[in-house]
Each structure stands twice: as structure tokens, then as C-alpha cells.
Symmetry: C2
Subunit: 117 residues, 2 copies
DNA sequence: CGAGGTGCATCAGTGCCATAATACAGCCAC
DNA sequence: GTGGCTGTATTATGGCACTGATGCACCTCG
């Protein structure tokens, strides 16, 4: 039955990207600290170094990490808060409307569910 | 910036499937009524008849629609409620935990947001 | 300088998705 | 029966995203 799983079968590089973003927001990858090397993270996650690099890519484009070629990638100051703010804005604008519509269709109430567990 | 859009770039046949499921749940495709033919819906949606057929496929497997070969496909009795129940269960089990975790990470509160707009 | 770590570019392979063109099988109204 | 509508099967093709392997450029440290 069923099948509505937008989050399932997600490309690896996107999963990694989300995971890294979460780690930055949570301070697990502290500001100023060096991110795991592409090879290291690849080995740890059982992925390809290129896939990890692809996951890192966008953080570079957005200026959230600083690349020191031949050395490593470092989390810039303010990255966590900037990332959280951007993600929150994007979530509210692009995901939440659909999620809320879907819940209403299914007869669910977000307010109740926060209290549920 | 950003990129967390699991729902973006979704295969057409899955979009159609979701759209059809929503129509059934909402009663837009009433129980006992005939679904649009694969060719008709394909033309309307600007898709390929095969792609539409692929979208219809799972509803047949799940016994939510009855196929009368040479005639058309009909929504079976109780399909809406069964579909809603299955989707709800799947949503709560597979999607909601991630969504809630994500919202908490972003500092959002579902309960507040239902009242917001 | 040399070894070992970094990120990065290039090429190739793979699989899923979507489309297309037919053709077939079943049902109905006329 | 005929024409026109249904769903379905077959085959082929193109595109695209993801993944993989290799090699290169760069930096640090001893």
C-alpha cells in the first residue's frame, strides 16, 4: 500500500548534505573547526569521495565553509545561524505549505501532535 | 542558498499518483465513478499515456480501483477512507518524525504555526 | 625535497525516467 | 459486425542524475 515518501530513495549526496547541515547547526561541526575530509567522511559513511565532495559543494557556494586548498574545509563564523535562518525560511516557504495541506487532507492536526509524544 | 526540497524534481508518475490519490480522498473522483482514461488524463496533463498508466498501476495493485477492461477504471467502495487511513499511517510513521525533528532543529513549533495563518 | 594529507577535475559507467510508435485485447453503442 | 472507446504489452530511444575510478594540483610537516 501507500507510497507517498518524498524523502525516501533520496540521492546520497543530498542525505549527506542534510546531515552535514544539521551537524553545523547543532554545533557538532563548530565554527572555525575543520570539516572531515572528503575521503574520511566517505570512508566513514561508506560513500564515494566524489559524492561527499558534491555534498560539500553547496556549502562552499553559499560561503558557509572556507576552502583552504591542500589543507581542508573550515566552518566560517556565523555559519550555523545563517544556515538555520536560510533553512527555516526555505522550509516555511517551500515545504510547510504542502505538508500542512497534506496533513489537513489526512485529518491530522500538527498542534495536537506536538503534545502527543 | 538552501536546497532541502525533497518534493522537488519528483518523477512525473509519482506526482500524478499523489494528485490522483488526493482527488480520491477529497471525493473529486467519487467512489464508483470512473477515472479519467489514461489517454484522456495524459492529454490533459501533457504526459504520456504510459506514464499515466504507471501512475494508475499501484491503485490497482492495492485494490483501490477496479479495472473493467475495455471500459475503464472505477473507484471501489471505501477507497477514499482506506486510502486516507493508509496514507495517514505511512505519514506518521515515515515522514512526520523527520519533519518534526527538522522543525525542532530550525526552532519552529508546529502548534504555533497552525494558528499563524 | 619528499611523503602524505588536502580538494578538485575529468572521463566513463549505470540505472531510472519519460517518451514514442505500434499492436493487441476487451467492451459498448450503433 | 463495425467503429470507437477502454486498458495493456512490447520494443526502442533519449536524457538525466547518481555513482565510481583515476589522476592532478595544492599545502604542510619533517
Amino acid at each position: 500500500m501507500n507510497a507517498n515518501r518524498p524523502s525516501a530513495n533520496r540521492p546520497v549526496y543530498l542525505k549527506l548534505r542534510d546531515q552535514i547541515a544539521a551537524a553545523i547547526i547543532d554545533g557538532e561541526y563548530a565554527e572555525g573547526a575543520m570539516l572531515p575530509s572528503v575521503r574520511a567522511l566517505a570512508a566513514e559513511q561508506g560513500a564515494n569521495p566524489l559524492t561527499v565532495a558534491k555534498a560539500y559543494q553547496q556549502f562552499q557556494n553559499d560561503g558557509l565553509v572556507e576552502v583552504q586548498r591542500g589543507v581542508g574545509m573550515y566552518v566560517v563564523r556565523g555559519a550555523a545561524e545563517r544556515l538555520r535562518a536560510a533553512d527555516r525560511e526555505a522550509f516555511l516557504r517551500e515545504e510547510w505549505p504542502e505538508i500542512r495541506a497534506r496533513m489537513e487532507r489526512l485529518g491530522l492536526n500538527p498542534a495536537d501532535m506536538m503534545l502527543a509524544d
